[in-house]
């Protein structure tokens, strides 16, 4: 608990207002969890179906708080070097040559000459620790392996990193850490226990409508309402990849771009690709579209 949390917002309502200023409509639960993460200096672990806006939370928070967003995109086989730091070997070699050509023969001095911070390539985690006042987004943490998770756990509890050649670098202030997971793999309990947790659900109709209105104010309200109602029904069809909020926004934007004034099967068809990302899903929705639109009235 040594470095103090970097941010002070006085209430969950203040967090919600901050998010809303950046046009992110948050459930109260997300505002409360974010507030606690900020104030307790704990990482925020967000889970939810793809497209519900997990990553967006980090982006919007960094904008709202006015601090840089440092992003670590996780993938299978992610190594520490890509997350933490690497020595810039090429430049180190050049430096050695340079020192030699200047007549430097002392081995210790050569060594000291190349293990300096300027030859350190800082990767996201180190960068965020150094900035302190930053949002560190560790995106899709479920894609890494367990060893990397254990390492993350260590960094997230101490907020310091030891570089053998340089010593220990500590965060001056705690960055806000946001972890997202799509649950392709179960995260370890120890990591979960360390975090403030929130499951982002699909929004209710009213909430999703507010999101669409906030993001696409030029879309007529009646049309927006129909689009949202349609998507909410499509989610109930049991598709392979149910559309998230991001897809709702894509569909609405496509309709705007296509100049569609009202929802009709023919008008909708070309825009379905914005909503659905699997061929089988497109087929299914296309068949059901007439009924779906009828039900909307």
């Amino acid at each position: 608990m040594d470095p103090k949390p970097a941010f002070a917002l006085e209430s969950p309502a203040a967090v919600a207002a901050l998010l809303e200023r950046e046009r992110y409509i948050a459930e109260e639960g997300l505002a409360v969890a974010t507030f606690l993460a900020l104030r307790l200096g704990r990482p925020l672990l967000l889970e939810g179906e793809p497209g519900v806006g997990k990553t967006e939370v980090a982006r919007v928070l960094s904008k709202g708080l006015g601090v840089p967003l440092v992003r670590l995109q996780c993938y299978e086989g992610l190594e520490l070097e890509q997350a933490l730091y690497e020595w810039d070997h090429a430049r180190q070699l050049l430096e050695i040559r340079l020192l030699e050509s200047l007549g430097e023969r002392d081995l210790d001095r050569l060594r000291a000459g190349v293990y300096r911070e300027e030859f350190l390539l800082k990767r996201p985690i180190l960068e965020a620790l150094e900035l302190g006042e930053a949002v560190l987004l560790i995106d899709e943490v479920d894609r890494t392996d367990e060893a990397f998770e254990a390492f993350l756990l260590e960094v997230l509890s101490d907020f310091q990193v030891t570089i053998p050649e340089l010593g220990t670098l500590r965060a001056r202030a705690r960055p806000l850490v946001v972890l997202t997971s799509n649950r392709t793999r179960e995260l370890h309990d120890a990591l979960r226990r360390r975090c403030v947790y929130y499951w982002i659900d699909y929004p209710s109709l009213e909430k999703e409508l507010r999101i669409v209105r906030a993001r696409l104010p030029e879309l007529p309200e009646a049309l927006a309402r129909k689009v949202v109602a349609l998507v909410q029904r499509v989610r109930g069809l049991g598709l392979l990849k149910p559309p998230g909020v991001a897809e709702t926004l894509d569909l609405a934007a496509s309709l705007l771009a296509l100049g569609v004034g009202d929802l009709a099967p023919e008008a909708l068809d070309p825009a379905l690709g914005a909503l659905l990302k699997a061929r089988e899903d497109v087929e299914r929705v296309r068949r059901a579209l007439g009924d779906l639109l009828m039900a909307l009235g």
């Binding site: 109260e28 309990d189 226990r193």
Partner: protein
């Protein structure tokens, strides 16, 4: 006087009992999680669904456990009725408040939980049992107490500054080769709290609740020295470890001895001359008083001015300061104002909680 049954069901146990309810549903939050939960409760305003949502965010780590959490929450805190819970049932099982509660269920009807209502009520109106529960809740929420980085450093395997002597000494073990660096990091120290509690006539309705809070804080290990004052100053630290049934009558007798008057300046000077030498940068001085003083305001200013230079912070908690339209007009209060780091209202549990929160934000 105090109902012993309430003594056996303190609110803290009530809160921690929820962890037991979670276990019954198969959830096992870790100790660090429970601690973060209590800390989180200290931070969130207990409004709307924040209590429920904060508890869930800190005690649950996966969506699959939401349902079990909701069942436990409904069973345990049924009266909180968060909107997010599908079917709220009014089945409060938290054994908290005394039965003779005047502003009944009908008025607020589930708008606030008993805990929240307890926090909002004036301290003077609390029954002894309620005051005790409140004290334990506040003490539970106030922990761990703030620590500050001391000037002196200690050696540590990790830290921010290299300790060359320690590194070299360590290197002797390996024949002079430096294999392991040793560092220095600042010591973390707890503040020492000096509390002056006004027990004169005008403060009598509040003194009991405030004393119970001091007891609860001390009971959790807060380094705290307490003094009661009216016409004189008496050290009451020895009363703090006693059970309330024994300690409170002792406090009452003191108040009677003082025959209701307040001589603030003299009491402060007595404190200065007695404990004054032991004060230092680790010390926080808290004065709990309404500032109604029959003594010399000049003496208040002189003594407090001298104390101010000897401690890190001087805070004044005044039970009246939160009342609408309050202005610090009482003579003692007015004389003290220039020497305070802050004046806090302390008339309800909520106000005390706000003060404890501020305390935690101390550097």
């Amino acid at each position: 006087m105090t109902d012993p049954r309430i003594l056996e069901t303190p609110l803290l146990r009530g809160l921690l009992g929820f962890v037991g309810a979670l276990r019954a549903e198969g959830l096992h939050p870790g100790r660090a999680q429970v601690q973060a939960w209590l800390q989180g409760l200290l931070l969130v305003p207990w409004e709307g669904e924040a209590f429920y949502l904060a508890s869930r965010a800190l005690l649950v780590g996966r969506k699959e456990d939401y349902a079990a959490f909701d069942r436990a929450f409904r069973r345990y805190f049924g009266h909180l009725r968060p909107k997010a819970l599908p079917r709220p049932q009014a089945q409060g099982t938290l054994p908290v408040l005394g039965s003779g509660e005047a502003e009944g269920e009908g008025v607020l009807k589930g708008a606030y939980s008993p805990l929240e209502r307890l926090l909002r009520r004036p301290l003077e109106g609390l029954t002894p049992g309620e005051a005790l529960l409140l004290a334990r809740l506040l003490a539970a929420l106030a922990f761990p107490p703030p620590r500050f980085a001391a000037r002196r450093r200690r050696r540590a395997p990790k830290g921010e500054r290299l300790s060359l002597p320690a590194t070299l000494r360590r290197a002797l073990r390996t024949g002079g080769d430096i294999l392991e660096a040793r560092f220095l990091r600042p010591r973390r120290q707890a503040y020492r709290y000096y509390v002056l509690l006004d027990v004169s006539g005008s403060m009598a309705p509040y003194a009991r609740a405030l004393f119970l809070l001091l007891q609860a804080l001390k009971g959790r290990g807060l380094p705290l020295e307490a003094f009661a004052f009216g016409t004189r100053l008496t050290r009451i630290t020895p009363l703090l470890p006693l059970p309330p049934q024994e300690a409170l009558p002792g406090l009452g007798r003191l108040a009677e001895d003082f025959a209701g008057g307040t001589r603030l300046g003299e009491s402060l000077r007595a404190f200065l001359e007695g404990e004054g030498r032991r004060l230092g940068r680790r010390s926080l001085l808290l004065v709990l008083s309404d500032g109604l003083d029959q003594g010399d305001p000049e003496a208040v200013a002189r003594a407090l001015g001298a104390l101010r230079r000897r401690v890190r912070r001087v805070y004044w908690l005044n039970p009246l300061a939160g009342l609408p339209g309050y202005a610090p007009l009482a003579r003692g209060m007015r004389a003290a104002l220039p020497y305070l780091d802050a004046l806090f209202p302390a008339g309800t549990g909520e106000e005390l909680l706000a003060f404890l929160r501020r305390l935690r934000d101390l550097p």
